[in-house]
Symmetry: C2
Subunit: 255 residues, 2 copies
Amino acid sequence: MAIIISIANEKGGVAKTTTALSLGAAMVESGARVLLIDLDAQANLTLALGIEPGKVQRSAGNILLESAQPSLVSRETGIPGLDIIPANNEMVYTERYLPSRPGYETVLRKALQDSELDYDFIILDCPPFLGSVTMNALSASNLLLMPTQAEYFSVYALRNMMYLIRRVRAQTNPQLTYRLLITMFDRRNRIHRTLSEQLHTTFADGLLQTVIETDTRLRESPIAGLPVIYHSPKTRSAVQYRALAQEIMDYVKET
Amino acid sequence: MAIIISIANEKGGVAKTTTALSLGAAMVESGARVLLIDLDAQANLTLALGIEPGKVQRSAGNILLESAQPSLVSRETGIPGLDIIPANNEMVYTERYLPSRPGYETVLRKALQDSELDYDFIILDCPPFLGSVTMNALSASNLLLMPTQAEYFSVYALRNMMYLIRRVRAQTNPQLTYRLLITMFDRRNRIHRTLSEQLHTTFADGLLQTVIETDTRLRESPIAGLPVIYHSPKTRSAVQYRALAQEIMDYVKET
Ligand SMILES: Nc1ncnc2c1ncn2[C@@H]1O[C@H](COP(=O)(O)OP(=O)(O)OP(=O)(O)O)[C@@H](O)[C@H]1O
Ligand SMILES: Nc1ncnc2c1ncn2[C@@H]1O[C@H](COP(=O)(O)OP(=O)(O)OP(=O)(O)O)[C@@H](O)[C@H]1O
Ligand SMILES: [Mg+2]
Ligand SMILES: [Mg+2]
């Protein structure tokens, strides 16, 4: 049975998509089989692999609204061992109509359980909105990975995230665990240093050891349609995302 | 009648909230009366003015779902001439239940028309999601201001935004105009320079002359609960947001 990881945060622009892609690719590089699922109407994860969302016929939306089978919607990427269930901009309708399906909160979990998917990890990229789609992702997951910037609005967003975790554990998924990841970190910036210390104090073990620093290669690699570890294998963020993959794989082995 | 400006973009983290706050404050400084409306469940605009969203009883959500009168929900901020209709995290329910109201797309426009609001400008901060709340904002607006980073995912998001503008113009608001604002710009970054040239070519007059550069004071001012032009009056971004206010006020005078 695959380990399912949601990458979610209500705060926008904290590197959710960048983390889903880079983590998935680094896991594949270490020998794992990984399925990425793009749950965001922006379809940035799909785009970052060189797939044009406007040409995507069957998407994650079909699984959520019409019970399409995941193994029939998934497709290969240019990277062996890394598959994707893409998104298109119909996902915004999914957010609106999904709540009218009975038991809508566990549609994705059920879909991922009965399909013939044969992966070690399934990684879900979520939109910056805590609606029914993100709720589905958390209900289906073993682990919630929350990328966060060391900035004021991002840190404040964690309050709503912790509230959502408590709700999901009480309603649909008592086993849900979480980990925080500091992203886009600039060690020369005083606010980043101060708020990251605050996160260490508040979250202790909940905060991953790995920190992803700012790296302009992460702005370039999506343009080339490649994860950063293939586009710029030696750059700082590629090294850090490989370390993240190792830390996550060790963590899930223990739990 | 007030000029209504939406600050919206599906892409997360492009400085929508920072722009709504800084632009509003700069307009007040030049003598205008301004009402800010926080339409995002994250309630970052509310928080950035030192108001605790958890303690907000009456919010923009009450106007949209229960037809509360805007002038009874608005409140003063610490800045004379700048009022706010705050948000709290109930706004996520607004997104879900608003579509069941008949004629839901123009609820906000009607509310802002019949109330006793006496402002020169009303500025709407939108969530990073193109659902019913953002649709309401655009239906009520004279101008859509789209902050955008000069980065790949941000530029791609403009495709969905232009699609939404065409839809709003066809369905509820033929008068809607738009302007693009480049934010968080780093002139030393090659990707930023290349993509900003591409935006100039693609959008021509649709792109504002003013560019907001990266400025760490914009990370500090929300912590103090003050707009940047009051927190660090001489910093680069304060000067740039004042120039933006002038450019916008000139633009609306002409149209
Ligand atoms: N470590 C980093 N250094 C520099 N740029 C980064 C880094 N991580 C991500 N980026 C860039 O920052 C922007 C935001 O990242 P991304 O789109 O992955 O965030 P997101 O949380 O998925 O956003 P959204 O909320 O819109 O889904 C992108 O343009 C991305 O290329
Ligand atoms: N010009 C700038 N220079 C440096 N930091 C900035 C700048 N503008 C905004 N920021 C910071 O970047 C982050 C994102 O900005 P902001 O929250 O305003 O974006 P947003 O589009 O409203 O995000 P969301 O999509 O979550 O609503 C914030 O931490 C903010 O303080
Ligand atoms: Mg994303
Ligand atoms: Mg915002």
